[in-house]
């Protein structure tokens, strides 16, 4: 699968647009803030530049290229997703607990990146994999039902939305470090 990635296939533009979209939407929760909007857009543009840099340097290794691109994408979306809850509960105990949770989720998965990578791909053989599946199931059922509920009632709740995106951000941060593992190392890991 290690063929060369053309610019058309590189997803640089599409992914940057996606990040601009999440940045725009998340700066409206719970209400609009133009400074935050600018910050989110800036983050998306920086990510776009990084994508281009990755493409220039690693386009001959498609797996490595898409992994790096996904890594940056996941991290930016995690930042976008975690801001609403912190804004709603700014400087309250909830805010600080949220900050601590984010710090832990940003650092700890790097230590266990290999275990997580193995667990995520072979969930039945690892405890981390099972926890990942259960968390994912709950996250999707919670978010899905809340989303459908907001569609039916035409009354979306900012706190529910912020809570879901925050939990989603933790999930994304949990998975992000495994994308930094090199393809050769990953092959060896999976042979275990």
């Amino acid at each position: 699968m290690n063929k060369e990635v053309s610019f058309k296939e590189s997803r640089i533009v599409g992914t940057t647009i996606l990040l601009l979209g999440t940045g725009f939407l998340m700066s409206w929760v719970p209400d609009g803030n133009y400074m935050l909007l600018m910050f989110n857009f800036l983050l998306a543009f920086i990510a776009g530049c990084l994508f281009y840099y990755f493409w220039r340097t690693t386009k001959h290794e498609s797996k490595r290229y898409f992994s790096l691109l996904s890594f940056v994408m996941i991290n930016v979306i995690a930042i976008h997703f975690s801001i609403p809850l912190l804004r709603i509960y700014f400087l309250t105990p909830t805010f600080w607990i949220g900050v601590v949770m984010l710090i832990i989720m940003v650092t700890l998965p790097y230590v266990y990146a290999r275990k997580i990578a193995y667990g995520v791909q072979k969930p039945s053989k690892s405890k981390i994999g099972k926890i990942y599946l259960i968390y994912l199931g709950f996250l999707l059922s919670f978010g899905g039902s809340a989303y459908m509920g907001s569609l039916y009632t035409s009354n979306a709740d900012a706190i529910t939305l912020a809570l879901f995106t925050f939990l989603g951000a933790l999930f994304l941060l949990f998975l992000a470090p495994i994308l930094l593992i090199k393809p050769e190392e990953m092959d060896e890991l999976m042979k275990k």
Binding site: M1, K8, E9, R11, T15, I17, L18, G21, T22, L25, W28, V29, P30, D31, G32, S62, K63, Y65, F66, S67, L69, M73, A117, P123, S124, K130, L133, I134, L136, G137, F138, L139, L140, S141, F142, G143, G144, S145, A146, Y147, M148, G149, S150, L151, Y152, T153, S154, N155, A156, D157, A158, T160, L161, T165, F171, L172, L175, I178, I181, M186
Partner: protein, 552 residues
């Protein structure tokens, strides 16, 4: 043994699931705590009895003078300090000799101990009673009344004299004033009091009896505040409209304090916990929950997870073909059912699936599979995004699409069933709880329903788009399987926040209102045109009829 172990694992997973759901409602209930009643002021602290004076402290015996420090000499020797500049002042220390007379003053304060008796002034600490002013702080409750104070202005407008009454009205004890000669004042008073509800209505009655025209107006101002405006106001004076306008603002503010109206956390998650007025609505909400929890998400997530666990994946071969990996069959029959459905896909419009022995496929089939699972094939991101968007929109919203009417879509309550469920809320609202269906013929209803469906479509599209983009980026990475999960989370987040943007933020709501009026104008124009045509036809027919009448 294997089965036993599997069933043990399954049961553990279920226990965790049940525990989780037990904890979640606790959290949600905690979020819906309503504020308690305001603390009513306690009784005024009455001052205690003054401390009766004990026995006077008899002055002790007079201290005998000690011997004077004749040895002032050392102080003089301090004169040695004169060498330093500050010590020059030290020479003033020689006054320290006063220290000796200090001993007699020490006697005086003891005598002055009588002044401790004057500590009765501590009784003046009764001013703590003026701390009652703190109970006056309860007037902070009456802070609501401050809004109502505007109405006292309205009262003033009626007559300059009444303004004086308005002043008295600010005393919370309205009924007295009301019964007093100044019926006007009472009403003015009702305004500032948060307690107006009871007293206000009472005083209004008095006021109308008071028979002063100007007073009567004021009454209405007061009564409006209480929300009883309609009865009282209409009764006594046409001026009620003035009072009504003033009070309506206050009344709404009063309602705003009842936070009961805002949807609780649990309501947002489970539709069936909503306060529905009608049985049909309850059933519909329950059906929505079943659809969300059991049919859609449960099915899709289970399929994906089981397929991942079975090791199902593709790998591109050197000749451009794709190798298919994964177990042929699973031991568990239910697991197998999900697994087989995951391997099913649309190929050139036909439903087909990877059988147990499919091991080598061409690129066309690979693309067809990836697209039907909302993953991305080799055709590039744009076409994959568009096709996945199209299929999700068709299944959920497009009445003219075949898949909209498919039994399998209906089974999942997408398609017609889903649209019906979406409409239940609007229908209930415009049919007075399914009792008076005449409202459904209005263009208001049609415009509101159209906008709701349009927002549903927009957020579905945005979510689906984001999901495809996120999944696609990961499809080429180290861990393609994780892409499905990450894409789902991103898609949900984007779809959800799109709905929020249209319903929860000011510019979004403006857009929504704008489109409702846009649709309404459009529908009105159509209806108007229809009516005109109808009138034209009827008129023409009657003219023709008149013309054909014998003798016409």
């Amino acid at each position: 043994m294997k089965k036993k172990r599997q069933s043990r694992r399954l049961s553990i997973a279920f226990i965790i699931a049940i525990l989780f759901w037990n904890v979640l409602p606790m959290v949600t209930i905690a979020s819906s705590f309503t504020p308690g009643k305001p603390i009513t002021p306690g009784e005024v602290i009455t001052p205690g009895d003054p401390i009766t004076g004990g026995n006077f402290i008899a002055p002790g015996e007079v201290y005998d003078y000690g011997k004077a420090y004749n040895d002032g000499a050392p102080v003089d020797s301090g004169g040695n300090l004169n060498s330093g500049t500050p010590i020059i002042e030290g020479s003033t220390d020689s006054d320290g000799q006063f220290i000796t007379p200090n001993s007699p003053p020490s006697l005086f304060p003891i005598l002055g101990g009588d002044s401790i008796q004057s500590g009765d002034s501590v009784q003046a600490g009764d001013q703590a009673d003026t701390g009652n002013a703190v109970s006056g702080g309860d007037s902070t409750q009456a802070g609501d009344g401050v809004q109502a104070g505007d109405q006292t202005d309205a009262g003033n407008a009626v007559s300059g004299e009444d303004s004086v009454h308005g002043g008295t009205g600010s005393n919370g004890h309205v009924p007295q004033n009301g019964n007093s000669s100044n019926g006007d004042a009472t009403q003015g008073g009702n305004g500032p009091n948060g307690n107006a509800a009871e007293e206000g209505t009472g005083s209004n009655g008095d006021a109308t009896q008071g028979s002063n025209n100007s007073n009567a107006d004021a009454t209405q101002g007061g009564s409006d505040q209480n929300g009883h405006a309609k009865q009282d106001g209409d009764g006594s004076n046409g001026n009620a409209t003035e009072g009504g306008s003033g009070s309506s603002g206050n009344a709404s503010a009063g309602n705003a304090t009842d936070a009961e109206e805002s949807p609780s956390f649990l309501n947002t998650i489970l539709n069936s916990t909503k306060k529905s007025d009608h049985f049909i609505e309850k059933v519909a909400n329950f059906a929505i929950d079943v659809r969300n929890y059991v049919l859609n998400l449960g099915d899709n997530v289970a399929q994906g997870l089981i397929a991942t666990a079975a090791g199902f994946k593709f790998n591109q071969l050197a000749d451009g073909k794709y190798a298919v990996y994964g177990k042929n069959n699973l031991n568990h029959s239910i697991g197998n059912w999900f697994y087989n459905r995951y391997r099913a896909y649309d190929y050139n419009g036909n439903q087909t699936n990877f059988g147990p022995h499919a091991r080598r496929i061409g690129e066309a089939r690979y693309n067809a599979f990836m697209q039907s699972k909302n993953l991305v094939g080799t055709n590039g991101m744009f076409s994959a995004t568009v096709s996945s968007l199209k299929s999700s929109m068709n299944k959920s919203w497009n009445v003219f699409s075949k898949s909209f009417w498919k039994p399998s879509t209906m089974m999942k309550m997408g398609g017609p069933v889903g649209v019906t469920l979406t409409s239940v809320g609007s229908i209930s609202e415009y049919s007075d709880g399914f009792t008076d269906f005449s409202g459904l013929a209005s263009t208001d209803f049609a415009a509101s329903l159209t906008t709701d469906v349009a927002i549903g479509m927009t957020s579905t599209a945005a979510g689906s788009l984001a999901s495809t983009m996120g999944t696609g980026a990961l499809a080429g990475s180290l861990v393609p399987g994780v892409g499905t999960a990450i894409g789902a989370v991103i898609g949900l987040g984007v779809g959800f926040s799109t709905t929020y943007f249209f319903n929860g933020t000011r510019p979004g709501r403006k857009l929504k209102e704008g489109s409702v009026t846009f649709f309404k104008k459009g529908y009105d124009a159509v209806v108007d045109g229809f009516n005109k045509t109808k009138d034209f036809v009827t008129n023409s027919m009657s003219k023709i009829g008149n013309f054909l009448k014998p003798g016409g």
